[in-house]
Subunit: 279 residues, 2 copies
């Protein structure tokens, strides 16, 4: 069986590496708007040949979508028009708008919305990693609307990636990812901007940057080409979480401005409850 990876970056490359390593597929076809990335992917070796979408549909049983979410949104209806018995697995980070877009498509059953909760702050083909997905969660969204054979094939890929699985509705998925993933990125972007703003006048500021700073701001290395579309596709949920986050920061600010240290202590102690969730 041949597979196609549409978007040969961190996620697509990491999937391809694992599917090749486990002999899941014969050939991997790479599709990407960026010719440089295709050449890099060929050189690294996780794709076997460059292809157009039409060529890939003719040769492959599985098309895995790992392009930025707005690109997936734009091309999915056309892609489904051309599908017969192939399986299209969408591994993007937002689902609600996309599912709505194709809910009445005659080939809806060949499409599966699957979000692997894994990644790094790096992007592009060179960022692809073996074992990126191992032990992480694959979230299937609105999975009951997918044909059984298509779901089974997608799930056998999830098994090869050694992932755990979870099932959610589209709204639930997009809201939860806003809370546990998208807001972390916004926070890091804002923190980086805050510190870079100050650094203009105070060049030595980074002598002091310790490991706490690094871990909090690490995600600010993430690609704007990937993240702008995510925020766009998940706009309402992200705005809601961002408003809550600004509110919580403002509460901390008010406690400190008012020299209400009892309240500040209480808020910090309350935030410590996150211990129970983290390892």
């Amino acid at each position: 069986m041949n597979i196609a990876i549409l978007g040969v970056g961190l996620i697509g490359g990491s999937v391809a590496i694992q599917l090749k390593d486990t002999q899941f597929c014969d050939l991997v076809y790479g599709i990407d708007r960026n010719e440089d990335n295709l050449n890099k992917a060929l050189k690294i070796g996780f794709i076997d040949k460059k292809a157009t979408l039409t060529e890939a549909l003719a040769a492959c049983k599985v098309i895995i979508l790992t392009a930025p979410v707005d690109a997936i949104y734009s091309m999915l209806p056309d892609l489904l028009d051309q599908v017969t018995d192939q399986v299209v697995i969408d591994m993007g980070s937002t689902k609600q708008n996309i599912l709505k877009l194709i809910e009445d498509h005659p080939n809806r059953g060949r499409y599966i919305a699957a979000h692997p909760m894994a990644g790094t702050e790096y992007s592009g083909p060179e960022a692809a990693l073996k074992d990126l997905f191992k032990g992480k969660m694959m979230v299937y969204v609105a999975a009951t609307q997918t044909d059984e054979d298509a779901f089974d094939l997608a799930d056998s890929i999830t098994e090869r990636l050694e992932m755990r699985t979870s099932f959610m509705g589209a709204h639930e998925h997009d809201m939860h990812t806003a809370y546990v993933s998208h807001i972390s990125h916004l926070t890091s972007f804002a923190l980086a901007l805050t510190v870079l703003e100050k650094e203009k006048s105070q060049g030595r500021i980074f002598e002091l940057a310790g490991s706490g700073f690094e871990s909090t701001v690490r995600l600010a290395k993430s690609s704007p080409d990937m993240w702008t579309p995510i925020f766009k596709q998940n706009r309402e949920n992200v705005l809601e979480v961002l408003e809550e986050h600004i509110k919580q920061l403002t509460n901390l600010h008010t406690a400190l401005a008012d020299e209400n240290y009892e309240e500040l202590h209480r808020l910090i102690k309350k935030s410590n409850k996150i211990k129970r969730i983290l390892k």
Copy 2:
């Protein structure tokens, strides 16, 4: 030579472990308001005996202050009153108020303000680690006001901790730490509060928590007993940074609310410049 550790937690314990390992000292005296922590420190073995401040001053050449910064602030004038030729090393995270408090003290020269830029999100004697300080930065603040022999002794401890060194004024130190350390903690506390707030109604939210979320929220495990005093002692700088951070988050919010994706992309791309600072 005997040394005393006032505050037998993460920092004090980690210092003691290293000074024992390198045979820098004979006995380590532990001083702490918390009897449980003293017993734990004895059991772990990084202190040799429990002591009062008076006993420690009689028996030790070096007193290392690793208590919360408000405790250091409260007891420092009394401590300096009793000092003769001992060396008092303050390893707290804020310096400006404390230095102002003792600037005219006759024994000012026996005191050295040193801030090791190292730590973890854990606290207490069990959190103490060998090699916590290795390769990290020790910042000396207003070091020219310390007697030369006292500075040399403090610096020989810094060498045993295998740290690099940097010199700053008090204002510069407190402002820079607000930017690269204190704000990271506030951000994490607020992020934890944001997510915990939502979780009340949505129990499954943490199924999705990936590594990005974990690294951003990790600092929210930090102790309120340690951090409330830091924010109190560095209140003005922290308020300034927090205002800038809320402003940057608000800019991101405005761009998204206005569906101005060009601006959102520009802000994210600008934040990527943090790459140059991080490894």
